[in-house]
């Protein structure tokens, strides 16, 4: 379980996150939604420790990240997996080498075991056969899947995804969404996903946190979104005509 308490972050005096509180539970796909520039990436990076918050606490199962020493941070790193907005695959390594990398660095298994694990992860994301290709030789959707395989190679307890669907077509997005949801349930991971893709929120979101200009304005379930009276949330979610219609149908069904 992840517990975020009173988190503040500013860059050069400009406040980006203001008093963020949230609890993310294991086995659930937790989503952070909000407009571009609202602070989602900064929040995620504060949680994983790539940015240092100005104030506040991040608790990983009651272990305070801000108070950890170097060694404890290093131990925690093995429990974290992260999928970056641009995949962030190592472009000097093949697909297989990318997935092998965390194992080669930290696993105490024999090379054969490590290879088996890497192949298992690649199979898990349906990428058997692409082992020897370089990241530049595979499509964006495949890169995302390689990144997922690399992120889960060491069996993390916490999985973080920064806009896993950005730049993907709707069908491929569904594949990635399903994958994120499946592995979250399978391994009882605490998963946090940043997104502004409402399809994925409606598809796999279990717990949703809405951020607007660095402030948490709303949180709840996806059903709750339809009945929420928060104006900013409504403006954000129901910006498109399609979703306005979905909302009306949904509310009619509730009444009927």
């Amino acid at each position: 379980m992840l517990d975020i308490k009173n988190l503040y972050k500013a860059f050069d005096g400009k406040e980006v996150l203001h008093d963020i509180n949230a609890v993310f539970e294991p086995g659930k796909v937790n989503m952070i939604i909000g407009q571009s520039g609202s602070g989602k990436t900064v929040l995620l990076k504060c949680i994983v420790g790539l940015h240092f918050p100005d104030k506040g606490e991040v608790l990983y199962d009651n272990r305070n990240f801000m108070k950890m020493n170097k060694k404890e941070v290093k131990m925690l790193r093995r429990e974290q997996g992260m999928l970056f907005q641009g995949s962030a695959l190592f472009d000097s390594m093949t697909v297989l080498e990318n997935v092998m990398f965390p194992l080669n660095m930290f696993s105490t298994d024999k090379p054969k075991k490590r290879m088996e694990r890497a192949m298992f992860c690649l199979e898990r994301v349906n990428l058997k056969g692409a082992e020897d290709k370089y990241p530049s030789e595979v499509s964006g959707g495949m890169q995302k899947r390689v990144a997922i395989a690399r992120a889960i190679a060491l069996n993390p307890k916490y999985l973080f995804c920064d806009e896993p669907n950005s730049g993907l077509d709707p069908k491929t997005s569904l594949v990635i969404d399903a994958l994120v949801q499946d592995i979250t349930r399978e391994y009882n991971m605490t998963t946090v996903v940043n997104t502004h893709d409402m399809n994925s929120v409606m598809g796999i979101g279990d717990h949703i946190v809405f951020i607007n200009q660095g402030i948490k304005e709303w949180e709840g379930s996806k059903e709750g979104i339809f009945t929420s009276v928060n104006k900013n949330l409504n403006d954000f979610v129901f910006a498109s005509d399609l979703f306005k219609e979905v909302k009306n149908t949904h509310l009619n069904n509730l009444e009927g």
Binding site: R77, R78, M82, F84, Q85, G86, A88, D91, R150
Partner: protein, 246 residues
């Protein structure tokens, strides 16, 4: 103020860089890769430039400096002293700062802007040490090889000029390059080059590692790294010459 900030950040980065590698076998593999990229791939440019400079120095000395008051062998002697004392270490490293430095800064810089360095950190790797230490190690260890190549190629350049033109005779050139030979000058050059190699790799790694923004900033970092390492090499040259030859 700004340069003090950079100096502080540079020192902090170096503190991160000099830590024990996570896995020695991976580290050695990286060092071999870097030797290939930074050293082997630089040999041709070092040899070509040194050949020409050796020939040109001999030519200049023959045409402009030789007078009835100076012995004929002064040509070979001057060529050798110039190569051994300054060219093959300092000027060669300035050239390498352009070639190797920009390569390092853009490689690490593009890893920074595509979040590959963040990915290393999240995996739990000390990204600074993982990326930078193999580069520093390989160039510092093998710069003497490049310096030797440069010295030899430079002397051969003069030799070729003497053989294929009638500007100077081969035998006086050969006498000149042996005249009053001090082996200590070679060691002096080698020692200087170790410092220069450290400057090139660490400074350009610093510029690459601290890139913020996008592709444009990677280009800027690459340029800045060449400018800064060149300036530092020249400064170090003045200081080291004072310390070692005085």
């Amino acid at each position: 103020m700004n340069s003090l900030y950079h100096l502080g950040e540079y020192i902090l980065l170096m503190k991160k860089v000099f830590s024990i590698p996570e896995r020695w076998n991976i580290f050695f593999k990286q060092v071999i890769d870097e030797i290939n990229k930074l050293v082997i791939n630089s040999i041709w440019i070092v040899v070509i430039i040194s050949l020409f400079i050796g020939a040109v120095i001999s030519m200049q000395v023959t045409l402009n400096i030789v007078s009835p008051l100076l012995p004929k062998y002064a040509v070979g002697f001057t060529t050798r002293e110039t190569l051994l004392l300054e060219f093959s270490s300092s000027i060669m490293c300035l050239i390498l700062a352009g070639k190797v430095g920009s390569n390092i800064a853009s490689e690490i810089g593009s890893m920074r802007v595509t979040e590959q360095i963040d990915a290393l950190d999240i995996i739990g790797v000390n990204s600074a040490s993982y990326l930078i230490l193999p580069k520093i190690t390989s160039l510092v260890l093998f710069i003497p090889v490049l310096v030797s190549f440069s010295m030899i190629a430079g002397l051969i350049g003069g030799y070729l000029l003497a053989s294929f033109s009638d500007m100077l005779s081969l035998s006086t050139y050969i006498y000149g390059i042996q005249y009053d030979f001090k082996i200590g000058y070679i060691w002096y050059s080698m020692k200087k080059s170790l410092v220069f190699a450290f400057i090139i790799t660490s400074v350009s790694s610093y510029y690459g590692y601290s890139v913020k923004g996008g592709a444009l900033d990677v280009g800027k970092a690459s340029t800045n790294s060449v400018v800064m390492s060149s300036i530092l090499i020249l400064l170090a040259d003045v200081v080291l010459t004072q310390l070692m030859l005085n």
